[in-house]
Amino acid sequence: MDYQIKNDGGSAQVVFSGDITFSENVSFRQLLKDISQQDVSNCEFDLSGVDMVDSAGLGMFLIAREQAETSGWKLTVSGAQGHVASMLKLTKLSDLLDG
């Protein structure tokens, strides 16, 4: 998994690429730390470059959602396709993450 944070003054976008799996646990937590250190009101996770997400990866999105709620920014997820889109749909996390 790789990611790039674009911060457009209060509105951030994180562009992911590669696979988001169990082994990315540490870098994902680092990412959340990076976001919370920047002063953002909303953040979009762009998943259009992600080929695969496993259940642990989905768990990390839930952690992100919780962190967004506690630190007062809004999380949106966009661009999921293929396996990632069907995983989000199967687990209804697509509704949860945008709700």
């Binding site: 642990a56 989905l58 839930l62 952690i63 199967l90 687990t91 209804k92």
Partner: protein
């Protein structure tokens, strides 16, 4: 933080105590050298120094005195230092014993040979006392640290094996499967393997009143110890809901109500639970985000809709029942996501569509009751020995002519 530093200090103290209490065997044919090295070591704080006059005596003392390190002269009558090294390294019991060689004639060729016969390190004569002490201490520390690490590893390993056996006991016992098979006249075919010693997958089946059986599969996010501990929690919780077992949506709802408050953030279980009437084929099921189970026959594969919020995330996930019917020639097949997500040799993943293709091909072959085993055989041909995630695959096959 403070206690961690304190415990590090305590560990260091203990290590130093062990280093200076280590047994050192000094091997030299010259009495003067033995005396000098012995004095150097005892001034350096070592309390247990033994001496051998030649290689032969050294080998005997290694057996009788079990020293922690050898300080070994090379050129000795009868058995030379080289010979001592070769003999010790040829014996698996002594292959890790540190051997510090000391020699006066120091050519590059000799150094090569010293290491080739198995010496750990080299000090040149005349002995430089601080250097000798530094090297002895370094090799003793290494040896003690390696020993304590491998002891720790061994202990962890045996604990994990014990835990794995305990976890294995969460899966349905052969007697339970036998009872289900006998009552339902169906064949239960299953496979389970954890990616690590411990896993986060679980499946189960049980007979139910009214010619029915219940079958569930679940996968706790992640794997390893934390996921495994949660399988125990889920299993224990499930055992309490015997009355809800006839109603899949209610079963998932009750399970979720208990687990949602206790599961840590980011952890959850994807799940599927079905109740099948084995006389009529009538099936009721409810999904919580498990991979879509397949209904398999020679006519092809139908996917069941297992869409649903995984267990353990939100308070009210609104699980609902879906009704279906297993025809007399249809098998129900459930599996965990590693089958479609594990990377293939070319780096791609099989995906749901690719896996459906496999299942359709295998379903055409005779002996459906070995569907799971044939699919896994095919899957393992694409995989290295270790899997990236836990694997569960369960099928119930009808015992009717159309499926055999």
């Amino acid at each position: 933080m403070t206690s961690r530093i304190a415990s590090n200090e305590a560990e260091n103290k203990e290590l130093m105590h062990s280093v200076f209490g280590a047994r050192i065997l000094v091997v030299d044919d010259m009495a003067l050298m033995r005396q000098m090295i012995g004095m150097c070591l005892s001034r350096g704080g070592y309390t247990d120094v033994l001496f051998a006059n030649d290689g032969d005596e050294a080998l005997k003392m290694v057996e009788s005195e079990a020293p922690d390190i050898l300080v070994l002269d090379l050129n000795m009558p009868r058995v030379s230092g080289y010979e001592v090294c070769r003999t010790l390294r040829g014996d698996p019991r002594h292959e890790d014993l540190p051997i510090l060689v000391q020699s006066a004639s120091e050519t590059p060729e000799e150094r090569v040979e010293v290491f080739a016969v198995g010496a750990t390190d080299f000090v040149s004569k005349p002995i430089n006392q601080p250097e000798l002490l530094a090297r002895v201490r370094m090799h003793l520390e290494n040896r003690l640290l390696i020993n304590s690490l491998s002891n720790f590893r061994e202990r962890m390993q045996s604990e994990l094996v014990m835990a794995r056996d305990m976890q294995q006991s969460l899966l349905p016992e052969p007697a339970m499967i036998g009872e289900v098979e006998q009552k339902s006249r169906m064949k239960v075919e299953s496979f389970y393997r954890a990616s690590f010693e411990l896993g986060g997958d679980l499946w189960g089946c049980w007979p139910l009143p009214g010619d029915r059986l219940g079958l569930f599969v679940l996968d706790i996010a992640g794997h390893g110890v934390s996921a495994a501990l949660n399988t125990f929690r889920v299993h224990a919780t499930m055992a309490r809901f015997t009355r809800a077992r006839v109603d899949p949506a209610r079963f998932l709802t009750e399970l979720n109500a208990v687990l949602a408050p206790s599961f840590p953030l980011g952890q959850f279980a994807t799940m599927f639970y079905a109740v099948v009437n084995h006389k009529t084929g009538h099936m009721v099921y409810s999904g919580a985000g498990a991979p879509k189970p397949m209904v398999v026959s020679k006519r092809g594969v139908r996917l069941l809709d297992s869409t649903g919020v995984p267990v353990g995330i939100i308070k009210k996930p609104d699980y609902f029942n879906i009704e279906d019917k297993l025809e007399p020639d249809e098998s129900l097949f459930c599996y965990s996501d590693v089958l479609i997500e594990a990377p293939l040799p070319d780096g791609s993943m099989l995906g749901e569509d690719g896996f459906i293709g496999w299942v359709e091909e295998e379903a055409q072959k005779p002996d459906r009751k070995r569907l799971v085993s044939r699919l896994l055989h095919r899957f393992f041909e694409t995989q290295p020995t270790s899997l990236p995630d836990d694997l569960t695959a369960v099928a119930i096959h009808p015992n009717r002519k159309g499926a055999s």
